[in-house]
């Protein structure tokens, strides 16, 4: 593992992540998440659905950034693969905002042509694209990007729940510690496919409850978190 990935997974990275709850705020409002066990169940579901998609796409982005995936594909093609896997417009918007803010930070931390290329092709890229490209610019490998994406899928929502429900932060970190055993050690379920169809076959796990939560949140009059 490359040490730079620690910066990308640190919740203190100033990339706007603190204002996103990944659906937890609405799940708290609806009562579906109300204590440590229900949060644990929420996080596990999130990790293995949208988290698995983000993980695979971040790894693909890192591989693409490193130039190993050659073929007629481009950043906007990879971005379209995330779009196709994100049915909820509110989740697409949240992903693009976080991607844009991360890309902004990464361009200052690790100036590199590949980040300029991404910003030029897709100014508000989906978060996994920004994360994968940033990981590459920082010197990390696709496996590192995958790990960072998977951790991102649960760490932000966990912190949001601590704030919203006043849960014992140690109990919540225990959940993260347990879930960390389920984090991927390789990108996605399958290995990155060879150049024939680099992205079509990547995981596409849906989380229908998250879609409903995300759209309800976007319509809420009163909310603390962006998503």
């Amino acid at each position: 593992m490359n040490a730079a990935i620690l910066l990308l997974t640190d919740s203190r990275l100033p990339a706007g992540g603190h204002a996103h709850s990944g659906g937890v705020e609405q799940a708290v409002t609806s009562g579906a998440v109300h204590d440590v066990p229900s949060l644990g169940s929420f996080l596990r579901g999130r990790l293995h659905t949208t988290g698995a998609v983000a993980t695979a796409l971040a790894a693909a982005s890192c591989a693409f950034a490193s130039g190993t995936a050659d073929g007629p594909w481009a950043w906007d093609g990879l971005d379209a693969e995330v779009d196709a896997r994100t049915a909820s417009p509110a989740q697409r918007a949240a992903s693009r905002v976080q991607g844009r803010l991360l890309l902004r930070v990464a361009r200052r931390l690790w100036p590199s042509p590949v980040l300029e290329e991404l910003a030029g092709a897709v100014p508000s890229p989906h978060h996994p694209l920004a994360l994968g490209a940033a990981a590459h610019a920082a010197g990390a490998a696709p496996e590192d990007a995958a790990l960072a994406a998977a951790y991102h899928a649960i760490s932000g929502p966990a912190t949001a729940a601590v704030r919203l429900l006043g849960l014992d932060p140690v109990a919540v970190h225990r959940l993260l510690a347990d879930l960390s055993r389920e984090l991927p050690t390789a990108p996605g379920e399958r290995d990155l496919p060879p150049s024939a169809a680099p992205w079509a076959d990547l995981p596409a796990h849906s989380a229908p409850a998250l879609d409903v939560l995300a759209e309800r949140h976007a319509l809420a009059q009163v909310r603390l978190f962006v998503s």
Binding site: G45, T49, T50, A84, A87, P89, A200, P208, V212
Partner: protein, 242 residues
């Protein structure tokens, strides 16, 4: 058992005809109207080990409505059962695919793969419903993968897995629901922004299509929610109470 059924439409003198209608038991196809066909199950299953394939070719400018007369009960058997459906919908063609639900009986191990290839101005309504076991039954395992491309660009890719209780009951995934369903509506609809109601979301996709996504306790409620979402999409505003 390995069965391959196929259906193709053609435009003849400005009308849809169905020159290819090849049944392969247990997938039996019956024409029930000028451009409507029903799937009639002529055996139980699929059972573990079965591989059922259906290929649909909806020619440019033609219309096809495909339904089924009964739900599909997926049963256990030696190995995994698989259903593979491929559909190509040509320019200006219309496809309405509304089969009855797939019910995952206890102990089954099933895979569903759907590949939809749409021309840019194809109009499609594609409904899928998965029921987690018969009444009071724990479902077997299922992995469904759905890929739709429009003009060669990805439009919708989604996967559902059922049968891992820790994930199925997650409030992020299915919560306390016992069925999941989606309807993809490709082609212009007047809906600009997402609409949500209890257990159902009507989601404008990034491409020119809308996805109705629903969860429910039983198949009847699921169908009600999906149909509500479908009419919400086609009216462009919430279609009254669910």
């Amino acid at each position: 058992m390995h069965a391959r059924a196929a259906l193709a439409t053609a435009l003849v003198a400005g009308r849809t005809s169905i020159p290819v209608l090849r049944s392969a038991p247990p997938l039996t196809l019956r024409q029930t109207g000028p451009h409507s066909v029903h799937l009639i199950s002529t055996a139980a299953g699929p059972l573990g080990g079965d591989r059922l394939e259906l290929d649909l070719d909806v020619a440019p400018g033609t219309t096809l409505e495909l339904g089924s007369v009964a739900s599909t009960l997926v049963l256990p058997g030696p190995g995994e059962s698989r259903t593979l459906i491929t559909a190509r919908v040509g320019a200006g063609a219309t496809l309405r695919f509304t089969p009855e639900p797939t019910v995952l009986a206890a102990g089954c191990a099933h895979r569903i793969e759907v590949g939809l290839t749409l021309a840019s101005d194809a109009r499609v309504l594609w409904r899928e419903e998965i029921v987690f076991g018969r009444y009071g039954e724990q479902p077997g395992r299922c992995h469904a993968r759905f890929d739709a491309t429009l003009d060669g660009r990805p439009l919708l890719r989604q996967e559902f897995t059922v049968g891992t209780p820790a994930l199925d009951t997650s409030p992020a995934v299915y919560g306390d629901a016992r069925c999941v369903g989606t309807t993809l509506i490709a082609g212009p609809v007047p809906l600009a922004e997402a609409v949500v109601a209890d257990g159902v979301a009507v989601l404008p996709l990034a491409g020119p299509a809308t996805l109705v996504s629903a969860l429910a306790l039983d198949a009847v409620a699921l169908r009600t929610r999906l149909e509500w979402g479908e009419s919400t999409a086609s009216r462009g505003r919430p279609a009254g109470p669910v």
